[in-house]
């Protein structure tokens, strides 16, 4: 989505009108959206089409006359930032099918804003206005990537550790035990609630470990649903699925054998 494909003049006008119309549209079909992105996409598309109809129909899509492009580009970019940001999934699916009718009944402006761009735009607006939708859209947790930074030369900070534990609905302690056992190291939460891990680790590596954690302790082993509860029964943890009701034991977290590295005096880390 580069500025070059747009006719800036059109865009500006369109923009203003559009936001109004979209707002209205949003208000209208707010309810239905929550369940079905596909439907939303369709509605949005029609909304977008209507808007396009309101616009000047003189210039044709094929013509790529960009009269005042240079001047307006900045404004454009200033006005557009949200569109670039979010990517949603539903839009892709409906994208192609809708393209056709759009070409049919809307002429000029269609070429300036591609369908995808319009769609992206409306989705970002929808999300902006209904933050709670972000959760409903994807049943799977949208986990923010771990924020992992080096601290000094031999320590790593995992800043949003608690956040992630919360997103996964697991006790921080449990996740911590797993992380440390897997990484074969030690660590603890510091005053700022970030996890300080001994050793150097890349975000990617932490992510790998998290992924394994999720596989073993978060998603249901039978149906893969993340709506699960981890229960401790005597000494074994069980993963109870809220969706399919399955219940199975999960591996207990053990750091197992730990080689003595560095200072020999260092005492072996705890075993869970």
């Amino acid at each position: 989505m580069d500025g070059e494909d747009f006719d800036p003049t059109l865009l500006k006008k369109k923009k203003k009108k559009k936001t109004f119309d979209l707002d209205a549209a949003l208000g209208l079909d707010d309810g239905s959206k929550k369940e079905e992105t596909k439907e939303v996409a369709n509605e949005d598309a029609t909304a977008a089409n209507e808007i396009d109809d309101n616009l000047d129909l003189e210039s044709f899509g094929k013509k790529k006359k960009k009269k005042k492009k240079a001047i307006n580009l900045d404004d454009l970019e200033g006005a557009l930032p949200k569109v670039e940001g979010e990517e949603t999934q539903g839009e892709e699916k409906t994208g192609e099918s809708m393209d056709a009718d759009e070409g049919a009944d809307v002429d000029a402006p269609a070429a300036d804003y591609t369908y995808d761009e319009l769609l992206k735009r409306i989705f970002s607006i929808i999300l902006d206005k209904n933050p709670e939708m972000a959760a409903g859209r994807k049943p799977k947790f949208v986990m923010r990537p771990p924020q992992v930074l080096r601290v000094g030369t031999k320590k790593t900070s995992f800043a949003n550790f608690l956040d992630i534990a919360r997103t996964l609905h697991r006790l921080p302690k449990h996740l911590l035990d797993f992380l440390l056992a897997e990484l074969g190291t030690s660590g603890s939460l510091d005053g700022n609630q970030q996890l300080i891990i001994k050793g150097r680790f890349q975000p990617k590596q932490i992510e790998n470990v998290l992924r394994r954690y999720i596989k073993e302790y978060v998603t249901c082993h039978t149906c893969r649903s993340p709506e699960t509860i981890l229960q401790k029964d005597t000494r074994i943890f069980f993963l109870q699925c809220e969706s399919c009701g399955s219940r199975c034991s999960v591996a207990s977290i053990k750091s197992g054998f730990q080689a003595v590295t560095g200072k020999r005096a260092a005492i072996r880390a705890k075993t869970t």
Binding site: K154, A181, E182, L183, G184, T185, G199, R200, F201, Q202, Q205, I206, N208, V209, R211, R212, K215, E216, H221, T222, C248, S249, A251, K254, G256, F257, Q258, A259, T261, G262
Partner: protein, 110 residues
């Protein structure tokens, strides 16, 4: 890595575990630990005591061109310790020589 997670859930897994007299689960745990700097260390825990670990470490050292040793641990028994990240190597080698099946290997680490 996480291949074991792809396996379907075995309802008798616990029974198998219980039957094993080993400290743990009859799995061979392959772990990696960071040492100072970029250096790492690979440990192999859970190889059956019937095997001659000294012999194994000798051939591993040769095969992977790394140093290694066997550590006697009160709880975990004899543990193989190799310098560097030999996780891939050791997995391949153990399966190749038939000391363990790939589903018995549990690789830890990042």
């Amino acid at each position: 890595m996480s291949i074991q997670n792809l396996n379907t859930f075995d309802p008798f897994a616990d029974a198998i575990k219980g039957a094993d007299d080993d400290v743990q689960d009859g799995l061979v745990h392959i772990r990696i630990q960071q040492r100072n700097g970029r250096k790492t260390l690979t440990t192999v825990q859970g190889l059956s005591a019937e095997y001659d670990l000294k012999k194994i470490v000798r051939s591993c050292k040769k095969e992977f061109a790394c140093n290694g040793t066997v550590i006697e641990h009160p709880e975990y028994g004899e543990v193989l310790q190799l310098q560097g990240d030999q996780r891939e190597n050791i997995c391949q080698w153990l399966t190749k020589v038939g000391l363990a099946k790939s589903d018995q290997l549990k690789v830890h680490g990042f």
